[in-house]
C-alpha cells in the first residue's frame, strides 16, 4: 500500500515569503470577479452507490478470489462436458478405477465413467440448484417480507405468523415429502427448496423495511402521492437491497451444500446422474483404494462453498454503509 500524505502542504505563492512579503503587488487587492469564486462547486467526482460498491469489492482480495473460482466453476459447468469426448453415463469396463492421467483428467470410477465429465456435470447441477434456489427465494422473500413490513399491522401479523409456522416444520421433512411424491430429480429438489428457503429472506427484508419505512424520504414519497407499490419497489426495496443481496449470497452455498448433502445420504439426485453429492457418496466404499474419486468432487464442493462465502463477506463489507470509513 502506498504511503499517504496525511498533511498535504498547500503551496503558498512566492510573494508571501522573502523580502517581497511587505510589498505585495497592488493588483492582488482588486476585487475577485464573481465568476472566479468557486461557490457551490462540488469537486468530488460523482460516485453512484454501485460504483462505490464495485470499487470496494475490487479492493477485497478474498472476494476477487471468490469471483474467480465461481467463474472457473461456471466455465467448467458450461464447457467441461463438451470438452471431453465422454458423456457422464458412458460406461467403459476396460478403464475402471483409473487414476488421473492424460486420457481421463480426473481418472475414472468403478464403471469406467470419466470423472472429469461427471464433476463438470455435477457443477451444472450444483450451480443451477444454488442460483435458482437463491433467485426464487429472493423474489418471494423480498415481496412477501416487503409487503409485511410496509403494510404492517394485521397484515404483517398474519403474514409473519405464517412464516413462523412454516419454519417450525423441519425443512428436511418438506424435502423428503416432495422427493417422495415427485421423484428424485433436480426439479423436485429445487421445488422443495423454494418451498421453505424464502422464509429467512422474508424475515430479513421485513426487518429492513421496518427500519426504513418511517424515514423522511418515505414520508416525502407519500406526500408526493406515489402509490404503495411504487414506494415499495422504488424506495424501500432499493434501500434495503444491500443486506438482501448479502443474505442471498450466503444462501447459495447453503443450497449447494443441501443438494450435495441430500444426494450424499441418498435421497437427492439418483444415479446415473452425477451431482457432487452422489459422486462423493459413490466413492465412499473405495475411498482408501481410490482417493481421487473422493478428492475431486469434495474439492469442488468446498471450493464453491468457500468462494460464495468469500463473495458474501466481501459484499457485506462493500454494501454496508455503516462500515464505510
Amino acid at each position: 500500500m502506498k504511503k499517504i500524505d496525511m498533511f498535504p502542504e498547500q503551496p503558498q505563492p512566492e510573494y508571501l515569503s522573502g523580502d517581497g512579503a511587505n510589498d505585495l503587488p497592488d493588483d492582488l487587492f482588486d476585487a475577485l470577479p464573481e465568476g472566479e469564486k468557486q461557490s457551490d462547486i462540488i469537486n468530488r467526482p460523482s460516485i453512484s452507490y454501485w460504483a462505490n460498491v464495485y470499487s470496494k469489492l475490487k479492493a477485497d482480495p478474498l472476494a476477487i478470489a471468490g469471483f474467480v473460482i465461481i467463474a472457473m466453476m461456471t466455465l467448467l459447468a458450461v464447457f467441461g462436458p463438451i470438452a471431453r469426448p465422454y458423456s457422464y453415463d458412458e460406461q467403459n469396463y476396460s478403464v475402471i478405477n483409473q487414476p488421473p492421467g492424460p486420457e481421463h483428467w480426473f481418472g475414472t470410477d468403478k464403471f469406467g465413467r470419466d470423472l472429469f465429465v461427471r464433476v463438470a456435470y455435477g457443477a451444472r447441477i450444483s450451480l443451477t440448484v444454488g442460483l435458482v434456489a437463491a433467485a426464487v427465494n429472493m423474489v418471494i422473500g423480498v415481496f412477501y417480507g416487503g409487503a409485511a413490513g410496509y403494510f404492517g399491522g394485521a397484515a404483517d401479523m398474519v403474514m409473519m405468523r405464517f412464516v413462523d409456522i412454516m419454519s417450525a416444520v423441519p425443512s428436511l421433512l418438506y424435502i423428503i415429502l416432495v422427493m417422495v411424491t415427485l421423484g428424485a430429480n433436480v426439479r423436485s429438489i429445487l421445488l422443495a427448496m423454494c418451498l421453505f428457503y424464502w422464509l429467512d429472506t422474508a424475515r430479513i427484508v421485513r426487518a429492513q423495511i421496518l427500519s426504513i419505512k418511517n424515514q423522511d424520504f418515505v414520508m416525502a414519497a407519500r406526500v408526493i402521492g406515489e402509490s404503495d407499490f411504487k414506494i415499495l419497489t422504488r424506495h424501500l426495496i432499493p434501500n434495503s437491497i444491500g443486506p438482501i443481496i448479502v443474505a442471498v449470497t450466503f444462501l447459495i452455498p447453503q443450497a449447494i451444500f443441501y443438494e450435495a448433502f441430500l444426494s450424499f445420504i441418498g435421497i437427492g439426485i439418483s444415479v446415473p446422474v452425477a451431482s457432487w453429492g452422489t459422486l462423493a457418496n459413490d466413492s465412499l466404499s473405495n475411498m482408501s483404494m481410490y482417493p481421487h474419486l473422493m478428492i475431486f468432487p469434495a474439492t469442488a464442493i468446498s471450493l464453491t462453498i468457500f468462494a460464495f462465502n468469500f463473495i458474501g463477506d466481501g459484499l457485506r463489507d462493500a454494501l454496508d454503509p455503516r462500515l464505510k470509513k
Binding site: M6, F7, L24, F29, A31, S39, I41
Partner: protein, 338 residues
C-alpha cells in the same frame, strides 16, 4: 506565555483518512485558553471546532492523524504524554460534556455509579466518600432529592436532567478545564437556558476554565467572554465577545451575524444570508477558505492564506482586508456600511 495559559495550542493539524481520500479537518490553528476563562469556539458543522477539542484530548478514531508544533496543558506537553497519562488527565484535570447526554451515559449503570467512578479512580475515594460527594454534586447541579436519584438509571432521567448529570460527572473531580461540545444543541429552548446558567454558575463557583463549542451565536453571547470563530478548518477571528459581536473584523463573522435574527431586538431586520456552501475539506482551497462566499473577496484571497493580524491586544483576524494595501476595498465596505 505558555506558563500563564492553561491550554496553549500552536499550529494544530488534524487529518482523517477516508475511503475517498484525506480530509484535512483542522489545518493549522493556534489559540490559548487562560485559567478560569470562559471561551467559546463557534463555527458551522464541518469547520473543525469539535475535531480541534477531540484532537487535544486525543479522543479521535484510528483513522485520524494529529500534528502540532506544541500542545501545552497546564505546563505539560500533551504531545509527549503516553495514552495512559492522557487518560489520567481525562476526568480529573479535563472534564467533558457532549451534545447527546444519552449516548455519553452508560445505560447499564446508575447515575450514582457513573459519578462515583472517576472519584474512586482519580481521587482515590472510598465508596462511602464517593457517594457522599456524588450526592453533593447532583444537588449542586440542581437535581432534587439527589439521594434517590443516585440509584436511578439514565433512562429514568429527562434530557435536561441527563445533561445536568453529565455536568456533575465532568465537574466532580474539580477539573481545571471543562470542554463542552454543543452541550445545549440537543435540548429544548427552555432547558438550554437552564443548562447554560448552570455552566456559568459552575464556572464561577470552581473557577474552572470552560471551552464551549457551539454553532449557536446566542449561546456564545449569553456566556462567553472570549470567542474563537472557525471556518474551513482554520481560525478566522479571535476576540472578546464584545469585539466579535459589535466590531467583527472578518467578513465571515460579519456574515454570521447578519444571517441570524436578533430575537431580542426590536426591529425585524432582513436576513442577509452568506451565499454558497462551506468548502470541501478533502480538497480545500489554497487561499482563504471563505473566498468563494465572501462579498469582499480579492484576487489575493484565492491565492494565499492570510495570516492572523492583531488590531488590538485581544482581537485578531485572518483576513487580507486587514492588509495595508486593501484600503481601497475597505473604504468601499465603509461606504456600503457593514
Amino acid at each position: 506565555m505558555s506558563d500563564e495559559q492553561l491550554l496553549d495550542v500552536k499550529n494544530l493539524r488534524t487529518s482523517f483518512l477516508t475511503s475517498g481520500g484525506v480530509v484535512s479537518a483542522v489545518r493549522g490553528i493556534s489559540f490559548s485558553v487562560g485559567h478560569g476563562e470562559f471561551i467559546g469556539i463557534v463555527g458551522e458543522s464541518g469547520c473543525g471546532k469539535s475535531v480541534t477539542m477531540l484532537s487535544i484530548m486525543r479522543l479521535l478514531a484510528g483513522n485520524a492523524s494529529v500534528k502540532a508544533d506544541s500542545l501545552f496543558f497546564d505546563g505539560r506537553d500533551l504531545l509527549k504524554l503516553s495514552s495512559k497519562e492522557i487518560r489520567k488527565i481525562h476526568g480529573s484535570d479535563i472534564g467533558m460534556i457532549f451534545q447527546d447526554p444519552m449516548t455519553s451515559l452508560d445505560p447499564l449503570y446508575t447515575i450514582g455509579d457513573q459519578i462515583m467512578e472517576p472519584l474512586k479512580i482519580h481521587k482515590k475515594m472510598t465508596r462511602r466518600e464517593a457517594r457522599r460527594k456524588a450526592a453533593e454534586m447532583l444537588d449542586m447541579v440542581g437535581i432534587s432529592s439527589p439521594g434517590q436519584r443516585l440509584d436511578q438509571y439514565p433512562h429514568e432521567f429527562s434530557g435536561g436532567m441527563r445533561q445536568r448529570a453529565m455536568i456533575a460527572i465532568a465537574m466532580c473531580c474539580d477539573p481545571k478545564l471543562l470542554i463542552a461540545d454543543e452541550p445545549t444543541t440537543a435540548l429544548d429552548v427552555t432547558i438550554q437556558a437552564q443548562i447554560l446558567e448552570l455552566m456559568m454558575e459552575m464556572k464561577k463557583k470552581f473557577s474552572t476554565a470552560t471551552a464551549l463549542i457551539t454553532h449557536d451565536l446566542g449561546v456564545i453571547a449569553s456566556s462567553c467572554s472570549r470567542v474563537v470563530v472557525m471556518y474551513g478548518g482554520l481560525i478566522m477571528e479571535i476576540g472578546l465577545s464584545e469585539d466579535i459581536f459589535y466590531r467583527p473584523l472578518h467578513p465571515y463573522t460579519n456574515g454570521l451575524l447578519n444571517s441570524i435574527t436578533r430575537a431580542g431586538g426590536k426591529e425585524r431586520g432582513k436576513l442577509i444570508p452568506i451565499p454558497g456552501s462551506p468548502p470541501d475539506l478533502m480538497n480545500p482551497p489554497v487561499g482563504c477558505p471563505f473566498t468563494a462566499r465572501c462579498e469582499y473577496a480579492m484576487r489575493i484571497c484565492a491565492e494565499a492564506r492570510p495570516s492572523s493580524t492583531y488590531v488590538s491586544e485581544n482581537h485578531s483576524a485572518a483576513c487580507w482586508l486587514l492588509h495595508a494595501k486593501a484600503s481601497g476595498m475597505r473604504s468601499g465596505i465603509a461606504r456600503h456600511g457593514r
